[in-house]
Symmetry: C2
Subunit: 362 residues, 2 copies
């Protein structure tokens, strides 16, 4: 069965391995460390350069820097160049502020006026929290806003203020519905946050696709397979090969029919509550703009004594973490972000030199 003949396939394989190892070495070399304040200043300066007020630039830059600090590069530094290009193209209006369209009591409808997505979202989650302080539960639905970057930001924001939060956004049509081949639904990120006194909040931030396109690209460049099935290859077979899925653009919904159904429902509720666009209308735009979002806050501080809340969360998480581990600790949602935040706060934030230089050159 064995052969010692050195075939051309073998040589090819060795060359592949060499270039792969080289890419890993280069990856380490071309990465750099940057302090949080320096990264934030970079974002701030560029936003001001392209027309943002000092106030908007400060808030938006903080959100971009926080996302990067927490390891969510895809919606931190790595996304920043696209946001600048959206500003240049006129898709994002830096002068716009959200406007109240109609109040129904504990739920309000706002117009995002095509403003900056992350500062709009922060403002509107804040408004949902004000409504929750008054009514126990409060909600804001917004139309014509822009990409909020990392949905988890607004979960952490609410939890930092003692609030339970549920929020979601619709998106462009980037995923086929279950049973279909062509992309007709969004991945519609969905967030649930639960506050803890020590700031170690429980935060779920999950798109309705099993993997983001950014993740497929990262793993392909590293020569890795997906850990679980992620989409279809060109023959219609389900695969873990990220490159094949990138070609077909047929990513799988999380839980197959389940994530597909949830994405459809979340899109409809966001569009109906806000009176804004559903994924169908966003798909007809020249870019992923004018999306609809919902922010719901529940005033946990008013509803529960501190001791009850803390004990319930601590004991429930300890119970979850007591599951016999497969090959490492069982972690609760949000723990990964916290670990990144601690590590990078101490050691500096590791960013790609290439992206850093791209932003510097803007």
């Amino acid at each position: 069965m064995h052969s010692t003949v050195i075939s051309s396939a073998w040589i090819h394989h060795q060359a592949d391995k060499f270039f792969f190892m080289l890419s890993l070495v280069l990856y380490k070399i071309i990465n750099m460390n940057i302090k949080y304040e320096d990264l934030k200043k970079l974002f701030y300066d560029k936003l001001v350069k392209y027309g943002a007020s000092a106030e908007l630039a400060e808030e938006s830059a903080t959100l971009f820097a926080d996302n990067t600090l927490d390891g969510v590069y895809s919606h931190g530094i790595n996304r920043f160049p696209r946001v600048i290009s959206y500003i240049k193209d006129g898709y994002i209006d830096l002068d716009a502020k959200p406007e109240l369209v109609e109040s129904f009591g504990a739920i309000e409808r706002w117009d995002g006026k095509m403003g900056m997505g992350n500062t709009n979202a922060k403002f509107l989650m804040n408004r949902a929290m004000e409504l929750a302080r008054e009514h126990g539960i409060g909600a804001v639905a917004v139309k014509n806003t822009n990409h909020w970057m990392r949905g988890g930001s607004y979960g952490w924001q609410a939890a930092d203020n003692g609030m339970i939060a549920i929020c979601w956004t619709n998106t462009n049509a980037i995923m086929p519905p279950w049973g279909g081949k062509t992309p007709k639904i969004g991945n519609n990120p969905f967030v649930i946050a639960i506050p803890r006194e020590n700031g170690e909040h429980v935060v779920v931030d999950t798109a309705m696709s099993q993997f983001a396109y950014g993740k497929l690209q990262t793993l392909r460049l590293q020569g890795k397979e997906l850990p679980v099935d992620g989409g279809y290859d060109e023959n219609g077979n389900i695969t873990r090969d990220p490159g094949k899925i990138e070609k077909t653009r047929r990513i799988l919904p999380m839980g197959f029919w389940k994530g597909s159904s949830l994405a459809i429902a979340l899109d409809l509720v966001a569009a109906l509550a806000s009176g804004g666009n559903s994924t169908k209308e966003i798909a007809a735009k020249p870019a992923e703009i004018a999306v609809s979002q919902v922010f719901i806050a529940i005033d946990n501080e008013r509803m529960n004594a501190k001791e009850f809340s803390e004990q319930l969360i601590d004991e429930t998480l300890a119970f979850v973490e007591s599951s016999e581990p497969i090959d490492g600790p069982v972690r609760y949602p949000g723990k990964g972000s916290l670990d990144y935040r601690r590590r990078q706060s101490e050691n500096g934030i590791e960013v790609s030199d290439e992206i850093y230089q791209t932003i510097l050159a803007f």
Copy 2:
């Protein structure tokens, strides 16, 4: 490699095949058709026999019959025997009615008083809708209630009244968290409903596990594999063999880490908002009782003109369904239940004669 020797293993295999084919034949023979009204009367009579008031029996029997009509046997007729046994064991108190614990304005906290789960849930979704009529959005969190059977029931109920609804329940610890082997989280069914004028509502009703144990059992008895990965075998490998998963009790969360995270967060919010039990405490009970639930309603009729709402939903669903199909029509969530409802309303409801006889004998 081949052998024509008839081994005892081969004989055993043939016998297995024979009994399996026989079970399929018997399955068809022993199934029966029953009219909706007759099925409902069966449930009604038994509930009254075991102590329910005429009013409670009527409501609860209707919910059990509706679930069976819609094809959700697992929480219709197939579950009824267990509910009767819970009543006999004193786990369900047929005399209890939900009591208001505290109002915070648009959100209220109720105590289910260990009453009947499905009638409690119907009452509380109704209360959430009343709050939504007043405040635009309304919510009820309930502690110490019992299994609501099919979560979708309360989505259909809200949508029949022109409301958007989001509701969920926590459950016993029946699923390992992602990264763990032993069951420490619930499958915590989650429902989103969107109303349509013609009654063809969009209703997602999804547990956080990829498959229910009932589904594993059904497919095992039919000698079928799961359509996608559903859990782990005894060697810790992910498998589609339903029997192997039933043995290890290691079912997979939907979307792997995603469904696991969502289940943890939904459990915490239900327990905090209601002041009730989390999955940890339910797991310590002698049965799956005293669960916590959240019902959120949004008054779509007040927020949107009928024409806007209808057009937005119709166009969005048409867009979803326009995805090039893989091997059959792309369906929106809720369509499957509607199809069952129509077919069984016309032709009668197909039920297992064995379960029917079991209930008759109570």
